[in-house]
């Protein structure tokens, strides 16, 4: 079983469209959508969800106001500026409702609060608190799904709103996809990656047999592709490259070709700009199903080339 990840550095170059096409072309594959914070592959593959799981990750500090003695130690040691002093008015109003004491209006009291978005869950404050007023509560940071599509099983996920740890969720999706592939004796795990070069991308490419970089002929596309190729090579992952929408700027496309030649990056295909891509997307179909045209032929030859790269290649 071989694992392939589709990445790009820059967003919007066509990762998901190409990944979905491979799903339609590959025999005996498991799909994994590792772009967990803006997942789109399900829009084309329409998975039927078989199992839903919670993704628990990380913790957030919660201050028990009744135990807090307002010493301020937690705020002092927090390096993420996640603890602040709340305006005391809100506090007082709550107390007032409880005790109905009007004369306490002017009491000067503060309250320490945790900004759950800034809190990185290091628990330093909970250890340092002298009165045990800080508890670390586990986050439900998202969900992941075990699904079936018309092209085979698919593992995908949804990161919770404003949650961190997307790298961990990516690793979880990959682990489950690999297990699934072993269970059903699949030949391939095809992974849709995310843009960027940080934790989510590193988690999606570690240990794969090939990273296919999809880029577009713009200076931004080239700049970002070179950075993500450097990351893949840093982690010793073989790469191949596809230029999507290559005819939008032939000169920059030529620069990318030269970059590939001088850096020994196998260029395994060029795809022209085609409005059918958007039309297929609106239909919720892969381009392979939607069109018998040139673009489908191109992607088929790219898939053949990629299989050869992986099977004969350095991995």
């Amino acid at each position: 079983m071989k694992q392939i990840v589709v990445i790009s550095g820059k967003g919007g170059t066509g990762k998901t469209v190409i990944t979905a096409s491979f799903a339609a072309l590959a025999n005996n594959t498991v799909m994994a959508d590792c772009d967990v914070d803006a997942a789109d592959l399900h829009l084309l593959l329409k998975p039927e969800i078989k199992e839903k799981h919670e993704f628990k990750s990380g913790k957030t500090a919660v201050i028990d106001q009744d135990k807090c003695i307002l010493c301020g130690k937690c705020k002092m040691i927090c390096r993420f500026d996640a603890i602040s002093v709340d305006k005391f008015k809100i506090f007082l109003e709550k107390k007032l409702q409880k005790k109905e004491l009007g004369e306490n209006m002017g009491t000067d009291k503060d309250r320490f609060v945790v900004d759950s978005v800034s809190c990185e869950g290091c628990a330093f404050c909970s250890f340092v608190c002298p009165c045990g007023a800080i508890e670390m509560k586990e986050n439900i940071a998202g969900q992941w799904f075990d699904s079936q599509t018309r092209f085979g099983p698919m593992i995908h996920a949804k990161l919770g709103i404003a949650q961190e740890n997307s790298g961990k969720l990516v690793s979880l999706v990959r682990k489950r996809a690999k297990e699934k592939a072993e269970e059903i004796n699949a030949d391939w795990v095809i992974i849709d990656g995310s843009p960027g070069i940080g934790c989510a991308v590193i988690a999606s490419l570690s240990g794969v047999d090939c990273a296919l970089v999809v880029t577009e002929p713009s200076l931004s596309g080239l700049h970002d592709a070179t950075r993500v190729i450097d990351v893949a090579r840093h982690f010793k992952v073989p790469v191949a490259l596809v230029i999507n929408k290559y005819d939008l700027n032939i000169d920059v496309a030529e620069k990318i070709v030269q970059y590939c030649q001088s850096n020994n990056v196998p260029l395994i295909g060029k795809i022209g700009f085609d409005k059918d891509i958007v039309k297929a997307m609106v239909q919720g179909e892969t381009i392979i199903e939607y069109s018998q045209g040139e673009i489908s032929t191109k992607i088929k030859s790219i898939w053949d080339r990629l299989q050869k790269e992986v099977l004969d290649g350095k991995s």
């Binding site: 990380g58 960027g196 997307m281």
Partner: protein
């Protein structure tokens, strides 16, 4: 004032909007917070005056003082410290730099050392028609996983006397939150396709949670369907601008040329957009 540009989906035109807006108004500063893949410099072509390396503190264990008691491992929530056969190992790439291990080590055997994660560069716009544009970006080192500390370093340059325009990374997770929090307004750039709409909805959920007022720019507005329009209307979300798909725009973009240089009328559109945002018309 801080205006951030975000999107959910990548490649919808965040950098296009951020750079063209910055080039259309007076007294602006652009801060490229997409430190994984910064692109604003390709369009602004800034003259860089200063380069600052950015470090995060990671623990270093003094082997002569360490007695392998395991306190550091116990307080580390990130599994960045392991103790094996009388060796205390630090996995710096997992460390968030919270400082807990150093504080609690009973032997005072831990000191924090700086680990470089990338750099920021500060300069000014060198395009002929705008001279007072300040420029800041960050670039994450290859192989580094954690962008937020570098984003914080870029945001340290936010100026209270300028209009700060933040170019955010794609997605909806921690790097995006770090970039856009504390913004006065957020422009969400999308394209009218199923992918664009799906990710726009995710980005909107984030902005609602952070309580940041926002509006939507529809880029390549004539490719796709009208579901994005319908969604915005139903949700009472202002559509700030539509940029059609034009070969001239795509071709200028691909060569690192801002739209306002090839189609000067866009400078007026962006000026007007800024005027309406700063008047609080969309809040």
């Amino acid at each position: 004032m801080i205006i951030s540009i975000a999107s959910g989906k990548g490649g919808t035109g965040k950098t296009t909007v951020a750079t063209n807006l910055a080039l259309s108004i007076k007294n602006a500063q652009i801060l490229d917070c997409d430190v994984e893949e910064p692109n604003a410099h390709i369009f602004i072509k800034p003259k860089i005056q200063e380069k600052i390396f950015v470090f995060i503190p990671v623990p270093q264990i003094d082997k002569t003082k360490c007695n392998y008691c395991g306190k550091c491992k116990q307080v580390c929530m990130y599994n960045a410290i392991a103790i094996l056969n009388k060796t205390t190992l630090v996995f710096a790439e997992l460390c968030h730099g919270c400082g807990s291990c150093t504080y609690f080590c009973p032997q005072k055997a831990i000191k924090e050392v700086d680990k470089e994660i990338g750099f920021t560069e500060i300069g000014y716009g060198s395009t002929s028609f705008i001279t007072d544009l300040q420029f800041v970006h960050g670039k994450l080192n290859i192989g580094q996983a954690m962008a937020p500390p570098l984003i914080r370093a870029v945001k340290k340059h936010i100026s209270s006397t300028r209009v700060n325009i933040i170019d955010a990374p794609p997605g909806t997770s921690c790097p995006v939150i770090e970039s856009i929090k504390e913004s006065d307004f957020c422009i969400l750039v999308t394209e009218p396709t199923p992918f664009g709409l799906n990710d726009l909805i995710l980005a909107i959920e984030v902005l609602r949670k952070l309580k940041i007022p926002f509006g939507v720019i529809i880029n390549r507005s004539d490719l796709g369907d009208n579901k994005t329009d319908e969604y915005c209307q139903n949700q009472n979300i202002p559509i700030l601008m539509r940029i059609p798909f034009k070969k001239e725009i795509a071709s200028a973009y691909s060569q690192g040329v801002p739209i306002v240089e090839v189609l000067p009328k866009y400078r007026e559109h962006f000026k007007e957009l800024f005027r309406r945002i700063s008047n609080g018309e969309f809040n």
